[in-house]
Symmetry: C2
Subunit: 305 residues, 2 copies
């Protein structure tokens, strides 16, 4: 219980910090560009659990990153995530009307403006990563990481597999591949990019275990998403519940069943925590530096929306 | 006439080189990602005048850039250009069916896949710029340049102004602002990024004049585009001619008239060539190093498709 309370306080503080950073990165504009900026702000601000930002901040603690640096990684991954939601919700894709408890971006601003807002969030994400205070070496590593996570071999590739299989069956291997790319790649990047903002020698030492942790988190996140789609209601989720089944989308629940899906999520949690224990045992970072990542693991598995 | 022949040979050689580099950067794939890659290749390969790539290569000559480095800049700007065309052609935007003499990407692959292919080309562009051989400092400068050119204060912002004014009047100042962002920003980047791939001290010395040159080229390019829309036919253009007038789009021709538009294009050419003369006169680069940029200026103003 004590642990839970500490996580809540930790997450709240970082969420507040993130919202302020996002507000600064996407200021209101006057003139002919006001509409685009407004749609970008609508897509990003005041919504979401900020899971990816929190992963970045938590991983930054492992390598002793300066929070003003981790902000940049957090903004970049959340901007990419936000653009992907805007495009994913469009009529040509999922045609979703509700997101984070609000009308989706294209419902509010029209399809063309929503698409453009999503398009413009991509360079905005990369722009964060070339902030001078990060140093050129770190910037280059961050940009490289984000291009892989968000491109054809990452998020967009996963979207493509998804698109091609709506209403079709999919075996568990393809489902895992799809999610590893569609949501897993960006979660992995959030963790790795947060850690890259700190001491590069520490990052090099923990990279392998951190990546195991991140991959398990990506998988678990999706499994829990699939479970919630059948067990939670629309008001709690802030997006349309029961949609996967209604659209015959292959999910962990539809392929494995609810019990086996829960088992798999639990196994991911265990393996993620073991990876963190190896990092702690290595003594390369300060004792307890993986605390927030362990909280995040419990949070991702235990969340109900 | 001699000059023209030399330009043709120069442009042909660089276009061939560019196509090979693009082919390597977007290899065919097997498996579930084949479709996405195919749509990305369709959007990029085997089409287009490669004006932006040629600008990058030409500017690279000024700063003595290694061609294998300038390739990266050329690929990045052409990938961004290609994605913008794919999204711009979508039904929610211009709803165009013909591009580079071929069916547009969404006609060929469907709207969802075309949008995704466009989305995936953005990280692919930035990926080029963090190639290790460029060096971290150059990479960071290139990424920063491209984020500005392609984002909300550049290309996407220009698209937004365009979108908001279809069928409406626009004064010449807003028209210039729109085009400076929509097409000018990426052309400016093509020139600057090509030059950034060479000697950084030479780049610093020529940057101001090079930017004047690039801005005049961006403006002239759009004016000529508007002129061709009313004077050329669809077969020559490879895209639907007369479309601006049919859709009541404000253009340099509709606002200034054909003669004044031609005059303005000529003035851009003169000012661009003067900027190149200042670079030559400064002696900071090898004599004749601006030759290809001068050719490009003549080409942009004199093109008939």
């Amino acid at each position: 219980m004590k642990e839970k309370e500490s996580f809540d306080a930790w997450a709240k503080a970082w969420r507040v910090r993130f919202e302020e950073a996002a507000e600064r990165a996407l200021p209101l504009k006057d003139g002919p560009l006001a509409g685009l900026q407004e749609a970008m702000r609508y897509a990003v601000l005041d919504g979401g659990k900020r899971v990816r930002a929190l992963f970045a901040y938590a991983a930054g603690e492992v390598t002793g990153a300066d929070a003003s640096h981790t902000d940049k990684a957090a903004l970049a991954v959340e901007f990419v995530h936000a653009y992907s939601l805007v495009h994913d919700d469009l009529p040509c894709m999922d045609n979703d009307l509700l997101r984070r408890g609000k009308p989706t971006c294209h419902v509010k601003y029209g399809v063309a403006q929503a698409m453009l807002a999503g398009d413009a969030l991509q360079p905005e994400a990369f722009k964060q990563l070339v902030s001078p205070e990060l140093g050129a070496q770190t910037s280059v590593a961050l940009v490289a990481e984000l291009t892989l996570a968000s491109g054809a071999d990452g998020m967009c590739g996963g979207q493509m597999i998804d698109l091609q299989h709506v209403g079709q069956t999919m075996d568990i291997d393809l489902l895992r591949m799809m999610h590893a790319m569609k949501t897993g790649a960006l979660i992995r990047s959030a963790v790795r990019m947060g850690a890259m903002c700190g001491d590069p020698r520490v990052f090099a030492s923990v990279d392998a275990d951190l990546t195991v942790y991140a991959d398990r988190m990506g998988l678990a996140f999706q499994i829990v998403d699939d479970i919630l789609d059948v067990t939670a209601d629309t008001a709690t989720l802030g997006k349309t519940a029961g949609k996967d089944e209604a659209t015959c989308k292959p999910t962990y629940v539809s392929i494995l069943g609810l019990d086996k899906a829960r088992e798999l999520a639990k196994r991911c949690l265990d393996e993620a925590l073991e990876a963190l224990e190896r990092i702690e045992a290595s003594g390369v970072c300060a004792s307890g530096a993986t605390r927030a990542l362990a909280w995040m693991a419990d949070y991702v598995i235990g969340r109900n929306y």
